[in-house]
């Protein structure tokens, strides 16, 4: 525990970059980011020790406030440490782009952000938790707002701030209800909170709403696709990769320790919300043209998968099958780690592309593979992982999620529940397929083909630190994809040991070798098969003398131009057609010139995919609020005399009331 304090101290030192003198700002940046790297490495190694059971553990008590580290916390400290290290190394190079644009503030707040997240996870009482949570929210707001010269950045940042404070308010209410039941705010006491069922439902609802908002589940996700593109890339990597997981951590604490999952409806709600978020998230991701918005919606999708697995585990616990729920909860942890790795990697590569070309719009990219081979390779690994292809970390988590669903399906005694599981499989299957399409589209349009604009011409490979940050994540993804067993076992052990105290059961049998009813996933087996196939193909095809003849592509007798390539919008057209009852795209066609029915035409085509939740849910609520406020203004006329009149009326009423 004391060593974690050391890491927090290093983050604190890094925060001091805020007060370095202006002429030393580059030095401040390097020192501060370097401290962040060292502190994150410390967090990483300490949490690894903790997970392996070699850590000192324990708690640190300061009066009524305490810091505690247990298994559940250690799993999330691992995420913070791992991604924190890689992204901080990347930030060493990437942050240089902000030289002269408040770089000291960026570096200092970066440390504070990481430190506050570590503190949230370590918090041992509600007060510390909320304090750290609020620091995290405010610092991330400031980081999102970093390029405050741009109007849309300010808009996105304020939207984020409003939303995140709504979430904090909900969590505060939940803590308040629990705390008044337990007459204490220490987590140890909150676990024994005596609540009436109604209060318990309210507490659960508030906690779920608060944490779902922070993790961007639909329909509370609206801040996410706006805030992530607005923030500097390494900040969006950290927000998407790590901050969203911190919300999962908090939700887990509530469910495992404070509220319990014994009510069937809780699990059902969490699972359905998760599934819907997963499906709609990836659907919207396939429609976007902005690289970072694609990634942001993909975060919604992956958080949806994590919460669907969580809900599945909660349902199994509610059905008294907790030895099976361990699969689902392991899926939560494993997919959290995996998503953190791959999302950080892809946000970093989006930052690299932006750095090189100055745009996030994939329609203006293309052919980047030749200009930035390393970045392209890392992005490919990240995209494969997000599309959950074999040999990558992304598959492991989704595999476990599906296994969890399968155990739910076998245990489902009632037809309604079976229907739900079928629905879940359909949605998860669609999600997987759409995610594959989405990342083929992202990678194909941005990195393959030929350039779509002249912006690509000035692209160049990134400096070493940035490549190093991306490379670390890519290596971790591959390692986890090929050898998932150590991590999965460690995560399972955490769940068995600490919060749930689940009877261990034959977990490995279920997951690894396949029981009677479960499928088998063994990366080595697939890899060997794949290598054999490759070798066979190489032998049979490679033995021939291949004649290479280079020529332009046959294009009905015309010279193919760059503009004839697939565009990102065109690529997702079939999806838009298939799901237009959900997406409701708005098309606008204006003819600028129309001399003839078939040629000589120029037209302006505008396609918009409005966010249905904004249109259907947030706008009406906003209207109602504004109208209510307008109604209240009748009382407030701005006349002093009227106000005195109110006092007078109040006084007469009080006097009469007193006289009665």
């Amino acid at each position: 525990m004391e060593s974690f304090m050391g890491a927090l101290g290093l983050y604190g030192l890094g925060t001091l970059a805020l007060v370095w003198p202006k002429r030393l700002e580059l030095a401040a940046h390097y020192v501060s980011m370097g401290l962040a790297v060292i502190a994150s490495l410390m967090v990483l190694s300490l949490s690894l020790l903790e997970i392996m059971g070699l850590g000192t553990g324990g708690m640190l008590q300061l009066g009524r406030y305490s810091l505690v580290v247990d298994g559940w916390a250690a799993a999330f400290l691992l995420i913070i440490g791992l991604s924190g290290t890689a992204v901080s190394i990347y930030g060493l190079g990437y942050g240089r782009g902000y030289l002269g644009a408040r770089i000291r503030q960026l570096a200092g707040l970066w440390n504070l952000f990481l430190g506050s997240m570590v503190l949230v996870v370590l918090a041992g009482d509600a007060f510390t938790f909320i304090l750290a949570w609020e620091v995290m929210a405010l610092v991330s707001f400031l980081l999102v707002n970093h390029e405050s010269e741009k109007k849309q950045v300010v808009g996105a940042a304020y939207q984020y701030m409003v939303m995140t404070h709504l979430g904090t308010a909900a969590i505060l209410i939940a803590f308040y209800i629990l705390g008044s039941g337990a007459e204490s705010f220490a987590f140890v006491d909150l676990a024994h909170s005596e609540l009436t069922p109604v209060m318990k439902h309210i507490a659960f609802g508030c906690a779920f709403a608060g944490f779902a908002l922070k993790s961007g589940l639909m329909p509370l996700h609206v801040w996410l696709p706006n805030a992530h593109p607005a923030a500097p890339s390494h900040v969006s990597a950290l927000m998407s990769g790590v901050m969203l997981k911190v919300a999962v951590y908090g939700f887990g604490r509530f469910v495992f320790e404070f509220i319990g999952a014994d009510v069937f409806a809780y699990g059902l709600i969490v699972m359905v919300v998760g599934l819907v978020s997963a499906f709609l998230g990836v659907l919207y991701a396939s429609m976007e043209k902005d690289m970072k918005r694609i990634l942001a919606y993909s975060s919604v999708e992956n958080m949806g998968i994590i919460f669907a697995a969580f809900g599945c585990g909660m349902l199994l616990v509610a059905m008294d099958k907790s030895y099976l729920s361990v699969v689902a909860f392991t899926a939560v942890l494993v997919h959290s780690v995996a998503h953190s790795l791959m999302k950080c990697l892809l946000f970093m590569s989006a930052g690299a592309v932006m750095h090189a070309t100055g745009t996030r719009n994939v329609e203006l990219l293309g052919g980047l593979l030749k200009k930035m081979p390393w970045t392209a390779a890392f992005t490919l690994i990240g995209s494969m992982s997000l599309a959950s292809l074999p040999f990558t970390a992304g598959l492991v988590g989704e595999w476990l999620t599906l296994q969890g669903m399968m155990s739910l399906a076998f245990e489902a005694g009632r037809p309604e529940l079976r229907l739900l599981v079928i629905f879940a499989f359909i949605l998860l299957g669609l999600t997987g397929a759409l995610a594959l399409g989405c990342f083929v589209r992202l990678y194909g349009v941005a990195f393959l083909g030929r350039r779509r604009s002249n912006l690509v011409l000035k692209a160049h490979e990134m400096p070493f630190t940035m490549l190093c940050g991306m490379g670390l994540e890519a290596v971790a993804i591959i390692a986890m994809g090929i050898m998932p067993a150590p991590l999965v076992n460690a995560m399972r052990q955490i769940l068995v040991d600490s919060p749930l105290a689940i009877p261990a059961g034959d977990f490995i049998g279920l997951w690894w070798n396949g029981g009677q009813s479960e499928a088998v996933f063994n990366p080595w087996l697939i890899m060997i098969a794949g290598l054999l196939l490759f070798a066979l193909l190489a032998l049979t095809l490679g033995s021939h003398k291949v004649i290479v003849h280079q020529d332009v592509t046959w294009n009905c007798g015309t010279e193919p131009t760059r503009r004839q390539q697939y565009t990102a919008t065109g690529f997702s057209k079939p999806l838009r057609r298939a799901f237009d009852f959900i997406l409701k795209p708005r098309r606008e066609r204006v003819f600028l010139q129309r001399d003839h029915a078939y040629f000589g035409r120029k037209l302006h085509y505008n396609l918009m995919i409005p966010d249905q939740f904004t249109d259907r849910l947030y706008r009406p609520v906003e209207h109602i609020m504004v109208r209510l406020a307008d109604t209240l203004r009748i009382v407030q006329q701005g006349s002093v005399r009227l106000y005195i009149g109110y006092t007078m009326i109040a006084m007469v009423i009080v006097l009469i009331w007193g006289g009665m």
């Binding site: 006329q637 701005g638 006349s639 002093v640 005399r641 006097l655 006289g659 009665m660």
Partner: protein
């Protein structure tokens, strides 16, 4: 004491009818003199010292300082010629009468002894009339008069009900009034400089 109450009632009724700034300040001064005398009489039961200090304070602050400051202010204000209240003067007089009845009803309810009941009714009437003056008058000066009337009413009520407040409380009350009036006078002065009038309805322009 009874005579003082009758006088006080008379002065308050006059106040509801006076529309000219100087005269209303004079009426306020007269009212404060009566309150000071009542204060002296009520205090004599508890010893001379306890009577003299509030008396002197009332005299100093409410009879001399505040009216002087307000008269000085009136000299500076340019548009003191004609004042119309958009609500008829008669209404405020009638309201004052209604408040007096209301005060007696309340006093009856609280079952005070007859002597106290008179003063209680008078103070309730002063408080409510003070508020009514503030609501019905547009001019800032007249509103200040209303405020002081209200203040006098509260002070007298406290004096009667508790049979003499502790000295510290009295000092605090006087300081409050003093500061309120100083601020109000300054504000009114600024207002007449910026808007060329002390009609508070123009303040509506400030509303966002």
């Amino acid at each position: 004491m009874e005579y003082l109450v009758v006088l006080l009632l008379f002065v308050v009724f006059v106040q509801t009818r006076v529309m000219e700034l100087r005269r209303s300040v004079a009426a306020l001064m007269a009212q404060s003199v009566i309150v000071a005398c009542a204060c002296l009489l009520a205090g004599l039961n508890h010893g001379l010292m306890h009577a003299l200090i509030p008396f002197a304070l009332t005299l100093g602050v409410k009879v001399i300082f505040i009216p002087t400051a307000m008269l000085k202010l009136i000299k500076r204000i340019t548009d003191e010629r004609e004042i119309f209240s958009d609500i008829n003067v008669n209404y405020s007089t009638m309201a004052a009468a209604a408040f007096l009845v209301f005060g007696y009803v309340l006093g009856n309810r609280f079952m005070l002894d007859p002597m106290q009941q008179d003063i209680f009714a008078a103070t309730i009437m002063m408080i409510m009339t003070g508020l009514a003056l503030m609501v019905m008058r547009k001019r800032a000066i007249l509103q200040i008069c209303g405020l002081i009337t209200l203040e006098n009413g509260i002070y007298l009520l406290g004096l009667i009900i508790t049979e003499g407040l502790p000295l510290v409380v009295e000092l605090g009350v006087f300081l409050d009034v003093l500061i309120a009036v100083v601020v109000l006078v300054i504000l009114t002065n600024r207002m007449s400089l910026s808007f060329m009038t002390t009609d508070t309805t123009v303040m509506r322009k400030l509303k966002g």
